[in-house]
Symmetry: D2
């Protein structure tokens, strides 16, 4: 739990923006810890992330919205305030492949992921043991072509019960419905086991093997209604050769997926990701 606040801003680019924001924070005695900004000259968009210590801050976060809106009246600004004392509540969806699940739970225990993980949902029993080891409630919701609506209703119920605001699909082998995707905009992160947009859809490693590519990839992205098309948060690749069988690709891919997914999740949790035009800005 961090005693900080983070402001994420997206706005048409205008003179005086930074001065107005910096003045506002200074007037309320903010001790700025990190600030990063980006100007997209082509689109005329200004993006900013600023994080400050709440210790000496003289404005309560409850009063922040009204005061900030008033001060920024001249600008056509979208902003979001994040209270660092409230941790993201993350649910992990998983099927039978457990490497991403194991990795996320270990990193969480290590302190790499500053969030709560109160819920794991799977369509199988297979990974219950690891959930138990880390002491995390594990719910099996079977999904078939016939019961998909009911299954998602049960998932919604659990997500509400546990007050979840981030869903991580850790090699969850089911496609979420459009309704599901719409309900959690920019709150669902998926790991796709290819370098998107190459090999979107099913069995990407097999198709990569058949095409004879020299690198395989993995992509962490927000889930939207269009399959494998959401804003990309992180990607990476690893080299393969003719010596590598499909099994070797799967093994190398597991390492890739773990690193890519956990990075995407960490950046989201740290409120370092801003989305615009179906792309992400990741402030470092």
């Amino acid at each position: 739990m961090k005693n900080t606040a983070t402001l994420l801003i997206s706005s048409p680019d205008r003179k005086g923006l930074v001065a107005a924001i910096a003045d506002f924070l200074y007037k309320h005695n903010a001790n700025i810890l990190h600030a990063d900004q980006h100007q997209d000259a082509t689109e005329g968009i200004f993006l900013m992330r600023v994080e400050w210590d709440l210790a000496d801050f003289t404005l309560s976060l409850a009063d922040f919205p009204a005061a900030f809106d008033k001060a920024m009246a001249d600008f056509d600004m979208n902003w979001q305030l994040v209270d660092g004392r409230k941790r993201t509540r993350m649910a992990i969806f998983v099927s039978k492949f457990d490497h991403c699940l194991v990795d996320l739970l270990y990193r969480h225990k290590q302190g790499e992921l500053q969030c709560d993980i109160p819920l794991i949902i799977s369509n199988h029993e297979d990974t219950r043991e690891i959930a138990d080891f880390y002491g995390i409630p594990y719910h099996v919701v079977s999904v078939t072509a016939e019961n998909k609506v009911e299954a998602e209703a049960e998932q919604f119920r659990l997500l509400a019960e546990y007050n979840i605001n981030l869903i991580v699909l850790a090699r969850y082998m089911q496609v979420l419905s459009s309704e599901f995707c719409k309900q959690y905009p920019q709150q669902i992160i998926n790991i796709h086991h290819s370098f998107l947009p190459a090999f979107h859809g099913a069995r990407p490693y097999h198709r990569a093997f058949e095409r004879g590519v020299k690198l395989i990839g993995a992509t962490g992205h927000y889930v939207t209604e269009i399959l494998d098309d959401g804003p990309i948060i992180e990607q990476n690749v690893t080299r393969i050769s003719h010596r590598d069988s499909i099994d070797d690709l799967l093994q190398k891919g597991r390492d890739l997926e773990r690193v890519v997914l956990s990075s995407a999740v960490r950046w989201h949790i740290d409120h370092r990701v801003l989305v615009y035009k179906n792309k992400t800005v990741v402030f470092d």
Copy 2:
């Protein structure tokens, strides 16, 4: 010029293959310098590359084919013998972007590319100066929608005149006809400025920018009748971020393209590339 011979073998995998080949070479007193082999268990294919010194070799390369075929009668083998004393004769096709051309010519002068480059063909005058600097004949063959057949006829004439057996498309902005591709199977290498199969076709950097990928790539591949679909020889990627404009992508891409294309060309020239099932094996 190397006083060596290289044998490239592709065969159904059978017991005794390696013993038969090794015996044959030993009987004729070959001093083996490099040998590498690969067995594709799924396909049951055996591939081999072996290079030996000709100094003490007791069989003339003229007599090699008959003798080797006889010795390998039991195996259903495809093989190709390369006389290292005959250098590959490479033509470079280029349009206006000159970074790959400049790079190939510099590497050639450095001795990184052990081949002859007796011919550059361009559809523009723009890069003549660099050809002159390196003392290489430069021919402009204009290509339009109307004169494509005549233009390719002129290109064929030049390729024949200069006795070319490798064509490198160094950002040549024209699509070759099916007839052209068929005439030089596995003898045309192209650099495509994306990580294939992502962004095949036109303007890949612009489409990568729009999609918001986190890495851009380049692919060196043999040209076949289907655009950007031939066997991949080499690929690589480089990281980009939201800070990178289209111009930054183009600049980073130029570095990628140079390294990827020159590697693919060097491996081809060194007879280290074997093609099967629209894939390559690159022996290292």
Copy 3:
């Protein structure tokens, strides 16, 4: 357990070597699965790794040594025969940092590491829980400046009791004595958390931070009597920037260490590593 045998050969390079080996294997009806060789022209050394199926092999592995030595009498050859039906028995040494331990145990369970892990030795109790989860005997041997000789004696006893032939130092924070190193030549693998030879010795991440390097690295190597000087099996690096604190380096380093160490261990277990002149050849 694999029904194969693997032969590792190191020899002065001579004509006829490959033919002699291939003939020998063919005569005994070996079905070769993988073969790789390397010739170091500068040193005049020939290295080979060949693996074959034992199903149809007509020579018993008990009779192999005498028969092979006789057949290879003309060559001054070092060779080692590995029976794939006998799995490597690996002990993991660990202190308090558990990321490499967790990673190795998970990979072992996944089937990525084809060995037995019958023993974990630690100088602390901290990681017992994870050993218990995977059902692996866990022994605490405290080590102090005063009791080092006795502690190593106890470790030797355990290693003998469990019949160990590979020791992996998974961030084990104690330096082994010369006697220990000598007793297990090329049988101890360490992960050093820097790109050796840079930052050998203590606190490499802190020293990397102070020097202002732009990449941090990790090195998997065989342990010899000289600290951090043994033959390197694998290395890799990851990019850092001024944004990264020491904690960020430690976190990025953990990912590196896991991948580098597990690769080095897997290659050793698969008998793909040959050592000569304090360097390794890793056959792929």
Copy 4:
């Protein structure tokens, strides 16, 4: 030539810093194009780079220093103002290896390096031809153990005559004297052909080969009085294997050196590099 100004700031971190700077720029109607900042919490240091369009800026750059010092009187700030309309004047020092020279000149012509290159100094005649091709004055200053003082005096004369403020050592095989280094603080960039601090000093590729490392590197750094010890601007590595001879290392190294050196030079020219505590911050 860019009609912009860039302000580089290094200061003890204090509340109100950003507000003061942003206000100052806004009052004079600056249209900010890029801004980036970094806070080193451990050291309590604030670093900033801000670039703005001069088109509507109401303060002349001649009046800027007095006005800015007055406005920042409360802060103990180091700052530097860069007039984007004045291009960096860069001299290249080179010996016989020409790959970095050729690369820098090509990139300059391409527009990747927004500077003037009015001078090349070499201790040999070998690379005159390439200088002539690009139309750049080429001066040979022989350097021996005996004439080093006189040689550097001649170099100083040329640097002054051509009004040079950046010296790039493009594989210049001479060590500069302490006096030389002191005269151009943070104005001399060297490419060292290893991953520093590994293999500082002579023949790094040969020593890397002997040590059996699995990656080779290159480092672009500012030159200080202590050899190979100055602030690192950029580093990168490339993978090697037992298959690679010394010549292969040299070839792979050339590619590395070109990319690393040209990046370091471009970032310096774009005024994106700030030095503190013998480290660099590279604003992207």
